[in-house]
Symmetry: C2
Subunit: 140 residues, 2 copies
């Protein structure tokens, strides 16, 4: 076996040992938080199934499960705004995942850097982040 093949097999073995450690819910999903690894910014929350977890760990590119499209969602496949995996963590109950990532461009489909741009200001809901990239440039 070549060194490259050995690395690939090791990554695959690690991937499935993590999949087996995760407590997926009744729908076979686990919530996954994506956090920018160096700044600590929480970028988004999405869902993963077994295949999404395994693919993410094997490729080093974050892959979610799209509940609306009912298929694997390789983040950035259409928009180019990929997430490179820096570290994969899961919590005490194994029912939530924290992805430390390096986000290319913006994480949010609205063109904002992160998805959590709604807050309360002066007693009312308010959008607190600007659009950085025109969404039609991402998906047009």
């Amino acid at each position: 076996m070549t060194a490259a093949k050995a690395r690939k097999r090791k990554a695959a073995d690690a991937a499935w040992s993590v999949v087996d450690a995760i407590a997926f819910d009744a729908n076979g999903l686990v919530p996954a938080i994506a956090q920018q690894f160096d700044t600590g910014e929480v970028l988004m929350m999405a869902w993963m199934n077994r295949d999404a977890v395994a693919e993410t760990l094997k490729t080093g590119r974050v892959c979610y499960w799209s509940r609306s499209r009912n298929k694997l969602w390789r983040k950035g496949e259409t928009s180019g705004q990929v997430q490179t995996l820096k570290d994969f963590r899961w919590d005490c109950d194994a029912d939530a995942v924290l992805l430390l990532v390096d986000q290319t461009g913006v994480a949010c489909h609205t063109g904002r850097r992160n998805c959590f741009f709604n807050a309360v200001r002066d007693g009312k809901p308010k959008v607190i982040a600007d659009v950085e990239t025109d969404p039609t440039d991402l998906y047009g």
Copy 2:
């Protein structure tokens, strides 16, 4: 109306306007990520229902919904490890919440600072954080 009463009413109005903005799931819940407001550390992920969101916004103390105990879970009520709310945010689809908090002590019931202490090292699952507080001191 006194100034204190006016503030309280304003907080209550704001709380319910946020509750109405959130897209709770079929079980009436929304996932909530707690992040330490000044360091960016992701502490935990739990769930909130309408009452938990409203109480958190009205009191400034984080309250979740416990799915295992099927009741409101005032974080720190037993352990003393409360979370003071610094900012309440929600995402583009309004189906995830980000709580910026000031965590007293440790967030995790295992006595670790945060719940995401499982990672992959050298191809195998590994616990990467130490217990800081004996759990029997928290719940004993």
